[in-house]
């Protein structure tokens, strides 16, 4: 968006450097830094492996549902989708600092999408101005007309979906990834700022005359193919972080000097905190009162996505990750590096991260309340003071936490923008 809420890193002035030299707090040793960097790649491997496993589980549920579509099967697939988001969202703390993740993540998590490219939509549907793919409806059309070009879509398979993703260079043309699958499982949320998520009937997948909205065979093909693409993509990424693989990203990253790796770690944390989670995912939707800018708009699962983004940031700083099977991965952390130089700065940052998690917990509790739950799309309605307060608190906490992250980096003489990118 138009505002650049840039928080400033103070230090590195000559006087500070001199002071540091005089006060001589021992900077972390190369060995200590290396240990933090290696643990970072271990966490990445664990998170992407968990994301992969949970996508496999999703595929199992999707296959079972498509074999004999009923309401129970649909709900189970939806539940599996929500579980599959848990590790993935935490992995987003690896974005921004690691080009391999950013070059790849669009095919998994692009949003907001012009869902009319995939399937039927309501009459009130709008798509991005000038988007040639905004109402293509791949499921309903075996030949896709793109002005001067036509695309043979008689077979809906992985290749077709990969080829059509970001058609015409528009990020709204999302044909693969979590949100495409989300749309296929939930359908459009036509409740605006009111209660309720998408209500796609399971009959959309019935392979009989009872098929609703037509093309149930192609819709099933689409769901199957999109799930397979997701799984393939996650397999690829977890291999990139696997130990002992020649020349994968992990190996390339660990071949860099310690300070560059640590700068990348910090850069990812700061960018996800302020620009992406705070800016794109909360502030735009809140200020514009726009359900179109809700992250998980079909399923109303946005609160959990935000929560796990926040947790992912905290994980990296603390060097920990709780795996989906419950085991806790811990090890050398940025926090310990910073604390070895300046305990106050480390404490402030940890407190700021805690404050964000508290604010995100309030969001989750409000959205999951048994009595009158308030989902994200209700919170961003014009005049919803409580919603505005809940989200405003998260935004403030994210700004403070970004400042903390900057100060932590400065405390160990790391310039988070010196990522070599």
């Amino acid at each position: 968006m138009t505002i650049l809420l840039r928080q400033l890193l103070l230090i590195i002035g000559l006087s500070t450097l001199t002071l540091n030299a005089l006060a001589a707090p021992n900077m972390p040793s190369p060995m200590e830094k290396r240990a933090v960097a290696v643990h970072y790649t271990d966490i990445a491997y664990a998170i992407y492996s968990d994301a992969e496993k949970s996508a496999e589980a999703l595929q199992g549920k999707v296959d079972a549902f498509l074999k004999a579509p009923d309401q129970k099967g649909l709900v189970e697939a939806q539940t599996a989708w929500k579980l599959a988001r848990k590790a993935y969202l935490q992995s987003e703390a690896f974005r921004f600092g690691n080009p391999i993740v950013d070059d790849w993540e669009g095919q998994l998590n692009n949003w907001p999408l012009d869902e009319g490219i995939i399937d039927y939509v309501d009459d009130d549907y709008f798509y991005a101005l000038g988007n040639i793919g905004g109402d293509l409806n791949i499921i309903a059309n075996t030949t896709l007309n793109l002005g001067s070009d036509t695309v043979d879509a008689s077979q809906i398979n992985k290749e077709l979906l990969r080829n059509l993703h970001e058609l015409g260079g528009s990020a709204a043309n999302v044909t693969t990834g979590y949100h495409a699958i989300e749309f296929l499982l939930w359908g459009q949320d036509l409740n605006g700022h009111g209660p309720g998520a998408g209500e796609r009937p399971y009959t959309d997948y019935l392979q009989s005359e009872q098929c609703s909205h037509g093309n149930c065979d192609r819709r099933a093909d689409y769901l199957r193919a999109a799930t397979a693409v997701l799984l393939e993509d996650l397999q690829y990424m977890s291999q990139q972080w696997a130990p002992g693989v020649d020349n994968n990203y992990r190996a390339q990253l660990l071949a860099m000097d310690n300070d560059t790796i640590i700068a990348r770690m910090f850069y990812g944390l700061g960018s996800l905190s302020l620009g992406e989670l705070g800016g794109e995912r909360i502030k735009v939707a809140l200020e514009a009162n726009s359900t179109e800018d809700e992250h998980d708009c079909f399923s109303d699962n946005t609160h959990w996505s935000h929560y796990y983004d926040g947790l992912g940031i905290q994980n990296i700083y603390l060097g920990q990750y709780q795996r989906l099977d419950g085991t806790l991965l811990t090890g050398p952390s940025l926090s310990k590096l910073v604390a070895s130089v300046n305990t106050d700065v480390d404490k402030n940052t940890r407190q700021a991260l805690d404050k964000t998690m508290t604010a995100l917990t309030v969001l989750v509790n409000a959205a999951e309340a048994k009595d009158k739950p308030m989902k994200f799309d209700m919170m961003i309605a014009e005049g919803n003071k409580r919603g505005e307060e809940i989200l405003g608190n998260i935004l403030n906490a994210l700004v403070d936490q970004t400042r903390g992250i900057e100060q932590s980096a400065a405390a160990i003489n790391i310039d988070p923008t010196a990522t070599g990118l």
């Binding site: 138009t2 840039r6 890193l9 907001p112 302020l274 502030k283 179109e292 970004t402």
Partner: protein
Amino acid sequence: MISTAMKPMLSARTFRAIIIATSLSTLAACSPPPSSKVLIETGNKSIISSYQAFSLASQKLNKAATSYCKAAEDNQKFETVRSTWREAVLGWSTVQNIQFGPLMVDNQAWKIQFWPDKKNLIARKVEALLKESDVITPQRVDDASVVVQGLSSLEYLLFDAKAGTLERYTGEKGQRRCELLVAVSDHLNNVSSGLYNSWRADGGNYISTFSKTGEKNTEFPDDNIAIGYLLDTLVSGVELIKRDKLERPLDITTGGNGEENHPLQTQVYQLEWWRSQYSKQAIITNLHALKNIFNANEAYGLDDYLRDVKQQSALSDKINDGFKRCIAAASAIEGSLFSIANKPEHRQPILAFDSELANLLAVLRNDLPTALGVSLGFNSKDGD
């Protein structure tokens, strides 16, 4: 310019020179140190006067809209509203990139501009508001989504091919559209005068917060922090022009080296001010404004500070030269970016401009922080 004068005299090491130098340094002790002077003069001579101009332009736009809506069939008055809107956009373009102060409080910038509008929300929300039956007042506009506020909403009301025409303001329905036009311009006038007043010494006096640093000043505990914000303003301003205003909408991925071997996939509706086809003028004004901040509008600015205090006159000149080259390259582009976006014969000047921006950005991002002894921080545009 005291310190510029002082240096050669000290190096001369004559008795007379030392006397003069001593008296000058006494003088310097009474007047603020160079870093404070940069803040005072950049704030007063550049930033405040830009806010003032933006506020005046918004006021003029509000008056023009009010006058037009008394006789909504008057084409000449409609054109006046449009031209005052353009002036207000240029006013906004001089302060748009500032990264600190009142503009950051309570999302003032978003009240002025909503861009990019990926889902055509402006059209949808404005038309939805027009269909309501509530009375349209500036307060109603203030309570509404930022999407219906500010220059973006006004651009839709004044320039949209369907909604922004004279015909839409006539008849019964047209009256309500005019009420909205007046209310939004009134609201904008309040926002922009609020910003100007917040900065003024006889208003909110943010100029004092910005220029009187010290331990008690929680926002700016020392001059370097405030200078860091100026640096941020320059860097993120040029970044915004290069990436968001030019490369993303026009599908520039070559880094400006001119070799493009894929079919163009422009996103022209992501250009800033595409409805009025005014994006190039806004960019040029941005560049002038950033240069103006760097030079404190010819008073004692970062340029002088680099030269006198940091012994970096070459860098200072290089930055000024970079701004000049960017402005010249942007001015050399013929036609509006919206109209030439997909015309191969117009591609070269666009790529040449992009390349100049890349050069300037490299100097601002790599050389300037080191020279000033401050470093860059995170930015809310770091998302995607």
